[in-house]
Symmetry: C2
Subunit: 407 residues, 2 copies
């Protein structure tokens, strides 16, 4: 069987585990379908001779022992969990691509010089319990067990009970493996850059940092008919000035800076009342920590100035502040070298979305490969990538793993 | 008893009918407390010799026959119904002020030359059934019986059944009385102009026209991290440009133009998604029909331009288009003359809110008197006016009725 047939079969079979009547895929941490998904991957790994094991919390590993440097491990993988009613590529593609690429390498080139492992991480999405990166943080010895000790899902089922029901438990000790020499994650882009530029491969050299805010402006609710313009303290007008000025500044600075005002909730949100309060969100990302800090500081100053000019109270809550994570130059170069040699239509790019690699990269040399997302859509049953692009992705992953594990 | 004591007693007694545990007042059309309210007003009218009657639908009239020109009627009044959890002044003050002013006039000056009537209209607020101005429209012979034939309140109780339960029914014939020579309505301002300018009386010369829109912008929902600024079709950004440009234009034109973007609903309304759709409302008012038309045409053009520039679809729905209603120059002059003579702290002004007078004024010479609203608040249990201002209002209403009915 070729790469394409094998991948297509695996994608079809794994996508059936947790499929929604709507055509979407829902596979949440420590549910029965989640366990079935891991067991399916485990069986596929064992079918071509991988040694498999779970760690304590349910991360799954499939291993091919290296012939010359078995104590050096080259790893590839992604997460098995999905969002609610998600698609069949986010996470899942990264696992199946790694299994398929390693199977191909072993079939073609035999035992690798270094050990190779596929990693099927327990959780990344944070879509069942209020925790994210549970899989990769446990891998790195960074998980906070206390933070999940009392959390429960929307039905009130406790994290700890569900973990134990599936046969897993907290790690006795949070520590990191010393043998991993490289980690490569392949993922759908979840954006529209590759599609718009008619490229097949993104070589990811940075995962953007992000800052998220909730901002509340308080003015005065007034009758829309009886309150002259000069007597108003209109918070939607002030929000609009912040949004226009902020986005114009962001556009002037340009890529890789992005700025989004995604949530706007005026009060009372009625046609004939001047809105006396508005709550809105800010999501700002950049690949450079200093640039992100400088821009958001400017944005904060702008908001304070407009609030003051309009006689409004303002509350600015910075509730997420994640630094950018650069990928390893050596691995990025290895992927780029293979992209050039293989005449792949590729570019270097950053990731605007968060990924397991951002947890892993600070500890092990890591990089990511992107394949295009049709229409930039993800976290949705309509999430799709042309089969040709998926196969190109698996091929360059195999080329890269060859470079890292066989040479 | 003086005007103040009498008014205070009546306000206290009538406010007890329909009072909420929260301190608010809820007296909805054709409820039992509504009928009790009308009966209370009827008894107060009869107590000083008024002849009373209901029309078919439940508008209440109290009449003092004129001595010389009994076929010419000078009328004053407002509506007995309230919004849900409203205040004790909106509507109620106009009725009790008219009763108290006419009682004072009869006690002081005896029988008037022309007939005087207090009008306690059945409904103005539209707060129980989806219909407004049911009282004044029936008075003017303009009610649409078919439009209410099948409507029901939030509990499913039918308008027609509730009307009949209280002993009322549709008018056999929609026609207008020929004897009304003047109508004066006193009302709280529901705005903050008089308060800000430290005035006690507003002589209303116009009720503003209003246009209301629902606008939907459609772009594309995208990942807030992975979509560069240049690839976005961000509807909240486009809305913000419309809001800023629209309000800046409105402020440049100035009073009496007002423009409000009161409702904003982005989709999906989430921090990390570029909003692919936004629905928003526009409420625009002006006392001049042509100016209102010209400004909203400019606003529509501006919205089309911004939607086109940003590659968005736009749907603009003008669902309310009410022309301004000028008050009668003769009655306005009569009120202003009395305001000058009595050294009232007054100004000529327009009403930005709708009132029964806008239904009545196109047919009978009409005008309105405003008293200040503390903080501009209305439709709220906190709706309040200083007692001194209320009494000044009753006095100028009495002065005006004297001018119209006795001279």
């Amino acid at each position: 069987m070729g790469i394409e047939e094998t991948y297509q079969r695996r994608d079809k079979e794994l996508s059936a585990i947790g499929s929604d009547p709507t055509g979407g895929l829902t596979r949440l941490l420590y549910t029965d379908v989640w366990k079935q998904g891991q067991e399916y991957v485990k069986a596929e790994m064992e079918a071509f001779g991988m040694q498999t094991r779970y760690d304590e919390i349910g991360n799954l590993f499939g291993r091919i022992e290296g012939s010359e440097l078995p104590e050096e491990t080259v790893m590839s993988g992604s997460h098995i969990d999905t969002v609610v009613n998600g698609g069949h590529l986010d996470g899942q593609f990264g696992i199946l691509a790694a299994v398929t690429a390693m199977e191909y390498l072993v079939a073609t080139h035999g035992q690798p010089k270094r050990s190779m492992e596929v990693l099927s991480l327990a959780e990344e999405e944070g879509s069942r319990f209020p925790t994210v990166f549970w899989g990769s943080k446990n891998l790195m010895g960074e998980a906070n067990n206390e933070a999940v000790a009392d959390i429960a899902d929307a039905k009130g089922l406790k994290f700890v009970d569900e973990m134990r029901r599936q046969g897993f438990d907290f790690k006795a000790e949070q520590k990191m493996r010393e043998d991993i020499k490289a980690f490569v994650e392949i993922h759908i882009e979840q954006g529209n850059v590759l599609e718009n530029q008619e490229l097949q491969i993104g070589v990811v050299n940075n995962i953007a940092g992000q800052r998220r805010y909730t901002v509340i402006l308080e003015g005065q609710a007034n009758h829309a008919g009886t309150t002259p313009m000069g007597y108003r303290r209109d918070t939607v007008y002030a929000f609009s000035k912040i949004c226009v000025e902020g986005i114009e500044k962001a556009k002037a600075i340009g890529d890789p800076l992005v700025l989004t005002f995604g949530k706007v909730i005026p009060k009372p949100n009625t046609v004939n009342v001047v809105p006396g309060e508005v709550e809105f969100s800010i999501d700002c990302r950049h690949t450079d920590a200093e640039a992100l800090k400088a821009f958001t500081a400017e944005l904060e100053a702008l908001m304070h100035r407009i609030a003051e000019e309009d006689g409004l109270e303002i509350d600015i809550d910075l509730w997420m502040d994640e630094a950018p994570v650069p990928m390893d130059e050596g691995i990025v170069s290895a992927i780029e070298k293979k992209a050039k040699e293989g005449n792949y239509k590729y570019r270097l790019m950053h990731s605007g979305a968060g990924h397991d690699s951002q947890v892993i990269a600070p500890h092990y040399p890591s990089a990511m490969i992107f394949v295009p997302s049709i229409g930039g859509i993800s976290h949705n049953p309509a999430e799709e990538t042309n089969m040709e692009d998926l196969i190109e992705g698996i091929k360059i992953l195999a080329d890269t793993l060859y470079e890292l594990a066989y040479v």
